[in-house]
Symmetry: C2
Subunit: 318 residues, 2 copies
């Protein structure tokens, strides 16, 4: 198994000047409502509006000079694309970001803030990802996976390191899961330094691929439905290293409905005056639904990103 703790410590040194130490906000109102001590890890306030910049910049900084010359290809439902674009612009590397057809316009805008080529390909996430991998091979470029990469995972794991400096003890941590890069980094680090912390993976009922895969003992290919949590939607690349990391370190999974995600987003607007995207709402909804299990505990909710589109926000509030 990978030594994630050590990789995270290396990532920390590499990326610190490029990322923001995001606040861990205690919420008076949510703590009162749930009878737990709620701490919000505000990656919605990270550069580019999502945690993804940690993993992307760690990967790019790990490339050799000749790999940098080759240029970079990635596939993304939005946030990882903006993160790679941010990193490429910062480090003056050229690259292409492939996004699926269902990408939200706000995420396209986010990517186009930076100097990078953007191409739309594939009605389905796995199509986009396979196309990007193939494109990289054909053009002898470096493919940067949004989750199936130890450097990407270790970059995301720096959130765990920050948390241990911000709160003690961390009894429970709720993390949204798509491909599993975020939870792999956080869980891999935390389980090595704070073994009592319960790690809970949070997924939309409409796209619970990792939870179902863990149940089946292997990465499964399943039909998924559209979800407010576009950032965690879709399938997982066969052979992804995140699968075995989740198997080893994630204690429990919670699935939430679209209605619950929506209510979580609204409740954060009301209590904290913060905008979050669907994936963050998944983690908060998982807490609100299961608060009884966690009474009196210090609970960290990972708000993974802010990048909700105006159209989606209107629909939710409408």
């Amino acid at each position: 198994m990978f030594d994630i703790k050590n990789e995270v410590l290396e990532a920390e040194k590499r990326i610190r000047s490029h990322v923001r130490e995001t606040p861990l906000d205690y919420s008076v109102a949510l703590s009162r409502a749930t009878k737990t001590n709620v701490f919000l890890k505000c990656e919605n306030l990270q550069y580019t509006g999502a945690f993804k910049v940690r993993g992307a910049i760690n990967k790019l900084l790990s490339l050799s000079p000749s790999q940098r010359e080759q240029g970079v290809v990635t596939a993304s439902s939005g946030n990882h694309g903006a993160a790679v674009a941010f990193g490429l612009t910062t480090l003056k590397i050229s690259g292409i970001v492939f996004v699926p057809e269902y990408v939200s316009p706000t995420k396209v805008d986010n990517i186009q803030n930076y100097n990078v080529s953007l191409e739309i390909y594939g009605a389905d996430w796995i199509q986009t990802e396979n196309h990007a991998i193939e494109y990289a091979k054909q053009h002898n470029m470096i493919y940067v996976s949004p989750y199936n990469d130890l450097q990407v995972i270790s970059g995301q794991g720096t959130i765990g390191l920050e948390l241990t400096n911000q709160l003690e003890p961390i009894d429970v941590i709720l993390v949204p899961i798509g491909g599993g890069g975020l939870i792999s980094g956080i869980a891999g680090y935390l389980k090595s330094v704070s073994s009592k912390t319960k790690i809970i993976g949070c997924l939309p009922e409409n796209s619970p691929v990792m939870a179902e895969s863990i149940k089946s003992g292997r990465i499964i290919d399943m039909e998924t439905l559209p979800t407010l949590s576009d950032a965690t939607a879709g399938g997982i690349e066969p052979g992804s290293i995140t699968f075995e990391i989740c198997q080893k370190f994630v204690d429990h999974y919670i699935l939430v409905s679209e209605e619950e995600i929506k209510n979580a987003i609204i409740s954060l607007i009301k209590t904290q005056h913060l905008l979050i995207e669907g994936a963050s709402g998944v983690a908060l909804a998982a807490l609100m639904k299961n608060a009884q299990q966690f009474q009196g505990k210090n609970v960290v909710v990972i708000l993974s990103g802010a990048n909700i589109s105006l159209e989606t926000l209107k629909m939710i509030l409408g």
Copy 2:
């Protein structure tokens, strides 16, 4: 005249452990749209969701032990009340917050997050303020003005100090004005250390009391209309020291319409995925309306607070 620079340096030492150094975010999208370099000073991310905590805690920390014993009275349209409540709870002082009848429910909730008495009084801001002053006298308590107080002003001025560590040069700074406490602190500090910085006061057309007072050469009592910028609405206490500070240090005033405030709030949701309240929208709207004057310049926009109610947000997006 007051030595604001020195008072701000004292405030800085006093309050640093109680306030957050808020990010100064460069906005790619707004910079592109305005052809200026837009930097957002995110006091919307300050504790309690507004800058007011700086001045309130500075004032409370300046009280003598016997003054603390007397207890504290304040009047507030919301944010200052939450800031005083936060400070009273932190420092274990008792107190009462008076709010006007038109206070937004979200701001009442914000105040009630803390251990403090809240009372509703007055259809009009000046009524609420006078009542609170009278109440403090009758009960031998300490009145803490939301703006007409050198300690409060100096606390807000620590924003200016943070800014000089975050950006150089600051060509232009846009600040919302109600009673004038925020701009007095920032301008008083900046003009002493960065005399070329242009200080621009931003007000809603519906409640431009300070701008009209400056024009008249004295604090005037005028009819005002409701505005999305509830935090800057209403009159100014006769004799307020903010008047002469504004006369001396503010270079220019810009008024904006309700429609312009609304569009500024929407554009920040779209580009930065941040929620701001009306007063912050006033400063951003003033930039968007006058961008041509500032082309190529480093422009700081003070996002003074986040505390927009869900109802107002729905109305704006509806």
